[in-house]
Symmetry: C2
Subunit: 342 residues, 2 copies
């Protein structure tokens, strides 16, 4: 039997349901929001009416009345970059679990600060109760401060500079894992192809790479700059291929590593025999690179989940700290690293 509308042609409302069920609208409201102080029989009558009419609560009306929207805002990169997709999946999962909905605003890479602020405002305007900032942002700028003060916000990655409001992946640890692996294999030094320094992660990884070398009394060779794209990795690889003594590189992302390896290959340097390459992310294709990539896995999906938990906790006044699960990076050794040829 197909559901039938009351008479007019617009969506059924609480009033319609109440009339059919022979109760007040208030009772309908109680049933819909799952309150338990409704007699079972009444509840069933209401539910029957709901079913019959195909009634659904009107989100806008509900949120106007209650002051709650249950909307989470997500500001993310307008690219198909692996990390963005995985992050989103984690956020979305938790949001749904917790009864939230997520609205996304994308911003181009290297967007000026105003673009991010504008995205933030747009999301707030849409009613977002909390916002997850998936792009580099100066969390401590006055403009941002102003906003994060009125709307709970979180950064998926821990920032070097800012007040500890970022979370989750310790990028120092990531870099250390990678560089130490190479050193333990017996390489005398490690070169570094860095990510775009517009991103905090890139800076931290570079700093830690230097720090690890310094600890062992090794002077860091010059950084080879790049920008996360495979193209930039390729260019970096060509540079690297020119340096005879280079036997080991720490590349700041898998996607760049693909480019680096290709350039090395073309220059006749074999990976890992001549040069060992370790990178970061462990994207799905990492295991299918030639050779398979040794890489530090970043659990983006968990990071997204943790970020979502965190904002939701803040929104709801639950203990935010308790809601955070630390997330672990892990070195995955595959075929792109080996001891240096003697």
């Amino acid at each position: 039997m197909s559901p039938r509308r009351p008479s007019s042609n617009h969506a059924p409302s609480q009033v319609d349901v109440a009339r059919i069920a022979g109760v007040s609208t208030q009772t309908v409201s109680r049933v819909m929001s799952g309150q338990d102080n409704v007699k079972e029989a009444t509840k069933q009558r209401v539910l029957a009416a709901v079913e019959q009419l195909g009634y659904r609560v009107h989100a806008a009306a509900a949120s106007l009345a209650s002051g709650r929207t249950h909307i989470l805002g997500l500001i993310i990169l307008a690219t198909d970059r692996f990390s963005s997709g995985a992050l989103t999946v984690g956020i979305e999962r938790v949001a749904e679990e917790k009864g939230y909905t997520v609205t996304t605003a994308t911003v181009p890479d290297h967007a000026p600060r105003e673009t991010v602020l504008a995205a933030f405002d747009r999301l707030e305007g849409q009613g977002a109760e909390g916002i997850i900032l998936g792009v580099p942002t100066d969390f401590d700028s006055p403009e941002m401060r102003l906003r994060t003060q009125r709307t709970p916000s979180t950064l998926p990655t821990k920032s070097r500079t800012s007040s500890g409001d970022g979370i989750i992946i310790d990028q120092r640890h990531v870099a250390r894992l990678a560089v130490e692996h190479l050193l333990e294999l017996g390489h005398k030094t490690v070169w570094h192809v860095a990510g775009d320094e517009y991103w905090e992660e890139a800076i931290v990884r570079r700093e830690e790479w230097e720090a690890v070398l310094r600890e062992r009394g090794i002077e860091a060779p010059p950084v080879i700059p790049a920008d996360w794209t495979p193209e930039s990795g390729y260019r970096a690889g060509r540079t690297l291929a020119l340096i005879p003594g280079a036997t080991a590189v720490f590349v700041a992302s898998d996607e760049m590593a693909f480019g680096v390896i290709r350039a090395l290959h073309e220059a006749g340097r074999v990976v890992p025999d001549d040069v060992s390459v370790v990178s970061v992310d462990d994207i799905a294709l990492a295991a299918y690179a030639s050779p398979a990539l040794t890489t530090v896995r970043q659990p983006f999906e968990e990071v997204g989940a943790a970020a979502a938990h965190r904002v939701i906790a803040t929104i709801e006044g639950t203990d935010a700290e308790a809601a955070i699960r630390p997330v672990h990076s892990e070195l995955i050794v595959r075929a792109s690293t080996a001891p240096p040829a003697r």
Copy 2:
């Protein structure tokens, strides 16, 4: 000067603005929605008050009153798959241009029909005025019909079976481009590593691959099934490596092609000398595979944009057909294909 709130601590409303500007709320409403029937001087006073208070229209209230939400729903795969990210970017771009906001619901791959329907309902409940279905769906099932009838919806890919409501990439053309390329290179036949047949695209590509061969009087070899993942591609590649006569494969996606090539490599078959590989998508890494992938580029971002244009046109009663720009696939020849060795 920092904006100051009226007195209480909740967000300023139209009333506050009206009072300060010395006009009625109606006039504020008119200014905010950009109607032109307001005297310039009045408008400026209103704008000044808006600025001073930091007023923004309350989306929920506006949509309750107007009946419009300007929300677009997007149902998409809960993975970091390349295509999903790119699609989203295109949708988001157009949505923003047109003053819409996008709310996403993710569903796992291979989700049963009910999951997709539930996502649809959730989005509708959130007020989505139009929905873009980025996952395989039986667009013609009664349950879906029921929904698409009340909420404009669109499929980014043209379906074999359904009523022409799908759009944009002609998968037959994609397959034809790939297979003919191989044939023109001189290969006697072409093998096929198929995508997950849960997806329309996979089926269409396989069908067309067969059709192209048949046209030339070639009997199609057995399909090698896979599921879009690089892992499945790897397995398919091992199978392929066992077949001595196989000199050319059409792989249904780049991500699988990475797996195929690795397996071939490990089996001692050189690409493209022994086996030519052509795939589909042209993901960012395709150019950095070893060897660089010959592939049929799919402009996902444009597809997303076209899909968004389409739903919005439907929502607004504009001519939907006019709003669609056809989108072109293109063969990108790189290093993974070559004439067969004689």
